[in-house]
Symmetry: C2
Subunit: 254 residues, 2 copies
DNA sequence: TCACATGAAACTGTCGACAGTTATCGCGAT
DNA sequence: ATCGCGATAACTGTCGACAGTTTCATGTGA
């Protein structure tokens, strides 16, 4: 599938800041890749894309560089760029890292949310409920992102960047149909609530437990959907690490 | 200090792959920034740099984009790029994340190193000793990097990328004079040995403990050097998280 | 029918130039 | 002396074009 056809019906690029076309292009392509609209394996030909987006190849190439640095696009010299995907192992390890960092983030944030942040997180949580019931998954995603972001808000800039990057990467593999089961949705909303309560009330330990539980659930469903029966050894190890396997039931098998 | 003067005496850019000037430029500048040769605050003027490096501005700008994505260089539209530095808080949180990820990495790698990797790590450890005694800190850094890399080698691609990035970022703030005290050096070599032993023998729990201890020591020294008396709350929280503060001596103070 | 060479077409990487924006310096007013 | 203001210089962002590389189709031989 050519990139031209993929973008055919879609609304074109909107250049936010005419002083920097390349960042708009970057944001545009990044969104399309992360949302899954441009699936892994798609070839991105510079000339074609430049024509479709009505920009020259210079800013387009700069956007490519940024996407490459994020690991979203291949970077072989003199070869077409290709949208990259994650295999099961990469997905597993990505989630393992996300769980550790986001749990750490929740712990750092526990008891340190401002009144305003608490209000905003509560609003996001409510918004998630509303948009889900309305079937507006695009808006749900936005609210969900904001909610998670607020719960790790005191992590410090470098960590926040990584967390966001990981979260977006894994979003690509969360299939919408995993949300459509109302029962599962309710359960996940309760998980969100549990994390929120722990962080808000300053219970760092509980925040870690709830965050790890929540994310590992996602991880298992996502990996199971893409590689049935594989299991999630990386995620499991991360959980052991975080959830204090103080017992000597050592789980390291050569 | 202009970038032209900074690079004056230094040996110029060596273009590895003439098919992609931009990646050579990126690697070149990245090294200079990470090694501290180009300090934070330095202004990078495109025309001047392009002249000094004898490349056109197009590949140079693409290299800039990559550096920006890594957080090494500023990205204000229509403004000169500036080499960015980390403040104490960012440094603290960077180390906290590095500790969690690298400990997780050590745990994932524990008992899974190949014979070849064990041999290689042992060689790197010996090399660190040799280069230190010879005062060849550049080579020491290379060996040190390789050693750490091998001990987290089974982490999965995405996590490895982040770990490397964090490690390099923090390297900028490790001052050489912290190494010149022989007694400290011996102690750190013992720490390295302890991590190595734990990972090699498949003791994941010990690997985490030793790795966390080792890195947190570095973190404290580095932060203390740059912000005396500040302490390392982020790192401390990460340690609590990793080292099983199962006791209810909760350390979350609103 | 298949493997392989060959040339054309398509694509990537780089360059110099132009347009628009920001910084700088000098001048005048307060 | 200090602040504001304008003209000029310096710099960034984008573009179209050229050179080098890869890909693909076509034809040739076994």
């Amino acid at each position: 599938m050519s990139i031209g056809e993929l973008l055919a019906g879609r609304e074109g690029l909107r250049i936010e800041d005419p002083r920097q076309t390349s960042v708009s292009v970057h944001a545009y392509l990044r969104d399309l890749i992360i949302s899954g609209a441009i699936p892994p394996g798609t070839q991105l030909k510079q000339a074609e894309l430049a024509r479709v987006l009505a920009v020259s190849r210079t800013p387009l190439r700069e956007a490519f560089r940024m996407l490459q640095e994020e690991g979203l696009v291949s970077a072989e010299p003199n070869q077409r760029s290709v949208v990259l995907g994650l295999d099961a192992e990469a997905l597993d390890s990505l989630y393992a890292a996300r769980i550790t960092l986001e749990s750490l983030g929740a712990r750092l944030t526990a008891g340190r949310m401002t009144r305003e942040e608490v209000r905003s997180a509560a609003a996001a949580h409510k918004e998630m409920d509303r948009t889900y019931r309305a079937g507006d998954y695009a808006s749900w995603t936005v609210a969900h992102r904001r909610f998670h972001r607020l719960l790790v808000g005191r992590s410090g800039a470098p960590v926040l960047r990584t967390i966001s990057s990981y979260a977006e990467q894994s979003e690509r593999y969360v299939r919408i149909d995993q949300l459509t089961n109302t029962q599962d949705f309710e359960a996940r909303q309760r998980e969100h609530q549990a994390i929120f309560d722990a962080v808000r009330h300053g219970d760092g330990k509980a925040a870690v437990v709830e965050m790890a539980r929540h994310l590992s659930g996602s991880a298992r469903r996502v990996v199971e959907a893409h590689a049935p029966g594989r299991g999630t050894p990386f995620v499991d190890a991360a959980l052991d690490l975080l959830l204090c396997d103080c017992s000597d039931a050592a789980s390291d098998s050569g």
